[in-house]
């Protein structure tokens, strides 16, 4: 297996969706190729850092405000729909 073939299977490898024989081949390639080994480790860390970060959280106060605004508009829509019927 060369590096291009390794990369082509990387998504399935991360998702644990590779057959065991292919998985062994990928792991063997990583053992022999320091570049692919580093690529896998640092890509895994990239995913974890973004997954753990709270950078994209919606603050509770804004959440409540948005929920209330939506519900008021939904109630109006419901009322108007009722009138039409």
């Amino acid at each position: 297996m060369n590096c291009t073939e390794f990369l082509a299977n990387l998504t399935d490898y991360f998702d644990a969706k590779t057959a065991s024989s292919l998985r062994s081949e990928l792991e063997q390639h990583m053992a022999d190729c320091s570049h692919c080994y580093v690529t896998v480790n640092t890509t895994r860390q990239t995913i974890e850092i973004y997954r753990n970060d709270e950078l994209f959280e919606l603050p509770e106060s804004i959440r409540t405000k948005l929920q209330q605004a939506v519900l008021i508009k939904c109630a109006k829509m419901k009322e108007n729909k009722g009138r039409k019927i």
């Binding site: 990369l7 990387l10 998504t11 399935d12 991360f14 998702d15 320091s34 570049h35 580093v38 690529t39 480790n41 640092t42 890509t43 860390q45 990239t46 995913i47 850092i49 973004y50 997954r51 970060d53 950078l55 994209f56 959280e57 919606l58 804004i62 959440r63 948005l66 929920q67 605004a69 939506v70 519900l71 508009k73 939904c74 109630a75 829509m77 419901k78």
Partner: protein
């Protein structure tokens, strides 16, 4: 394949009970649905638009549209996937407005080969994020993901941050499964490559 819920899953899925209540006129059931998914919708909208105000508006617009069109939800896919699809469309529309009507689509800028082949093979420091304070790290992560084309950012956010399956992501974005896989790989590799500038072991040093 997780694209279509089986009748058994549908019968058991609590969202469907809530939707039935909403259709019967119970607004508190809609509030429950909103509480369940508003944070994820906000995150997706923020990833696409990169603008907090827009993302807040998109949360409102997405739930209002879902409420209006609830009769069209047939229950043959997950409610959340249906909601994500509305949010993605709203986000792309908003992005288009910000860019003075320039076309913005899930296909934008994806032809670039940048980052599809790894170039930086330096290992990273142990726990590299701990070398930065919270605001520095937030700034690095924000700037790094901002540099990705929207079509890559969105796939990465849905799959790796929100935890949707590849099939659900494909369905939510109207893409094929191979297209999602390809974009995900390139998004991950591009982010890795860019973060490497901050997290790599300094030249001459050895990782602990």
């Amino acid at each position: 394949m997780a694209m279509t819920a089986t009748p058994e899953e549908n019968a058991l899925h609590p969202d469907l009970l809530l939707i039935a209540k909403v259709k019967a006129g119970d607004l508190s059931a809609f509030e429950q649905l909103m509480r369940q998914y508003d944070r994820q919708i906000f995150r997706i909208a923020l990833h696409i638009t990169q603008n907090r105000e827009d993302a807040e508006d998109i949360v409102q617009d997405t739930f209002l549209k879902a409420f209006q069109k609830l009769d069209q939800f047939q229950g043959n896919s997950k409610f959340y996937t249906w909601l994500v699809r509305i949010a993605v469309n709203e986000s792309l529309m908003r992005l288009r407005k910000r860019r003075s009507q320039k076309t913005v689509s899930m296909d934008e800028d994806i032809q670039t080969e940048e980052g599809s082949i790894p170039r930086d093979f330096a290992d990273w420091m142990p726990n590299p994020e701990q070398n930065y304070n919270q605001s520095e790290l937030a700034d690095i992560l924000r700037r790094t993901i901002q540099g990705l084309p929207p079509g890559f950012r969105t796939v990465f956010a849905l799959r790796d941050i929100d935890g949707l399956s590849t099939e659900e992501t494909a369905k939510a974005l109207g893409l094929t499964v191979p297209a999602v896989k390809s974009r995900l790989l390139r998004a991950r590799l591009q982010l890795r490559e860019r973060l490497s500038r901050y997290f790599r072991v300094p030249t001459g040093a050895h990782p602990l």
